[in-house]
Amino acid sequence: MSNADLAAPSLLSRINLQRYVVYIGFLAIFLFFAIVLRDSGFLTVRNLSNIVLQTAPVTIMAIGLVFVMSAGEIDLSIGSIVAVSALAAAVTIGQYGMVAGIIAGLGAGFVIGLINGFLVAYVKLPSFLVTLATLGLFAGVSRSMTDLRSIPVTDSLFTGIFGSGSLFGIPSLIWWTVIAIAIAHIVFRETRFGAHVLATGDNARAAAVCGISVPRIRLAVLTLSGVIAGLAGLLYAGRLQAAKYTLGETDLMTVIAAVIVGGTLLNGGKGSIVGALVGSLMMGMLNNGLILMGLSVSDQMIVRGFIILAAVAVSLREKNR
């Protein structure tokens, strides 16, 4: 075994499709729409910045899912957490003001995430089943919380911070996106916690024999995902100035697609926060472009489904290489 035999093939395959697929895909879709929709307003500043604003909650949720999936778990309940958190915040703001509302919204996400995490880490149930169950359970809770009614959010400071406001001329939703991505990127890439999340998803036994508490990592990522989905709920409530049980209901597929397209492996051990951001923007752009092209909602769903299939195929091919 010499160095040369081993290095050569692995270096070639290292420059692989998977790592750059999100950037290539992003550019390709952008160029496609820029050309096809050049007369339909796709390239206007207003439309492009709208894409970023509309994508913010999905981008935020994707951050949580990068941690969860890198640890080898999944969180299907984020959509329900968004609705419960947004409703909890809206109801509490109406009665006790903004700060209490923020605490209620994030606290709801924290508690649901903690339940998910406890059942996965210490009762040792598969996260797929646990979060599938809490997805249904809390979808029910959000429906019964306000009898399917929409709750308006009138606190203008809240809707400014979490929705339509801006600071230094930059919309608050962009601030949230940039700050959340920056912090998450550093935590994921540059801290022990991030390294232990990856090791746990890669080989839980190896992590355990190296002294990493695998249950604690599993509890942490699922709780984190809950809190982050709670934040996404606040952003929805702020932007729409209301909360309803339907918030986040259809986001799960988009979030998973964004994360996988962004280079996070479905089976754990590898992930990218920046990739998830680009993946999320790509999904947002796709939505926007398909609407401008005049596709029906059902056609949009079909196209998105194909994109996710392609992304999963590339992701799994990489893992089995």
Binding site: M1, S2, A195, R205, A206, V209, G211
Partner: protein
């Protein structure tokens, strides 16, 4: 001559009603390689688990550098300077070599962030000293050959072990050339004054590597021999029960 780095006396281990190890005593000196041989189910892996803190012994005592120790878990054994190279290597395949070397014990910068530069530098130094031929400290484990992976697992143990390295069948899955490389690396551990306990089913390997050979049969310690003063026939007879210690 210094005293033994590891001293096991009267170790016994029962699982429920089953006796896996009975009355086992052994000393390992710094810089010494002791081979543990015996048929399947003889109790070799159980013994390693006792020394590495995974299983508490049912009876008997363990001393490190003359000090009696009670190890309640594997983390404690690691803190005392005992490292294990597991049969399945326990490496995170998609992570870089340097991340694996420091897994669970990553050094941090003043800001509390991972000190990658230090991890990479120490990995390169160690890999060079041990002559583990890997393409780079940045390579992912899955891009390495079986022998290189084994080399990384041994390098990790070497980096952290101050007293003892336990190897459970380190070459079971390797070809001839890779086995020879791993044996060289194990041999180079002598220079570091670390005690080595190695389990192997290959008597050829045991005779190439070890200073002493300890034979287990069905949990009983049949005997310990100086490698130079014995031969394969005697060891085989001890393993199979044709000869009592």
């Amino acid at each position: 001559m210094t005293g033994p780095v590891l001293e096991l006396s009267g170790i016994r281990k029962t699982f429920g009603g089953v006796t896996a190890i009975e009355d086992f005593s052994l000393e390992i000196f710094p810089g010494e390689i002791v081979a543990l041989v015996g048929d399947n189910g003889a109790g070799k892996s159980t013994l390693i688990k006792i020394v590495s803190g995974v299983h508490p012994p049912s009876a008997g005592s363990i001393a490190l550098d003359g000090q009696p120790v009670v190890m309640s878990n594997a983390t404690m054994a690691r803190m005392l300077g005992i490292e294990v190279v597991y049969q399945d290597l326990a490496l995170a395949d998609q992570q870089a070599v340097y991340m694996n070397l420091f897994l669970g014990r990553e050094p941090l910068t003043a800001l509390g962030l991972l000190d990658r530069r230090r991890m990479i530098a120490e990995t390169e130094k160690l890999v060079k000293e041990l002559d583990v031929r890997i393409p780079s400290a940045h390579a992912a484990i899955r891009d390495l050959s079986g022998g290189q992976r084994q080399g990384v697992a041994i390098a990790r143990a070497t980096h952290w072990a101050s007293k003892l390295i336990l190897l459970d069948e380190p070459t079971a899955a390797l070809g001839v050339a890779e086995t020879a490389r791993v044996e060289e690396i194990v041999r180079s551990l002598k220079k570091r004054n670390i005690g080595v306990l190695i389990i192997s089913h290959s008597l050829d390997q045991v005779f190439r590597l070890s200073d002493r050979i300890c034979v287990l049969r069905r949990g009983k310690q049949i005997g310990v021999r100086d490698t130079k003063a014995t031969d394969k026939n005697e060891i085989i007879a001890m393993i199979t029960g044709l000869k009592q210690g």
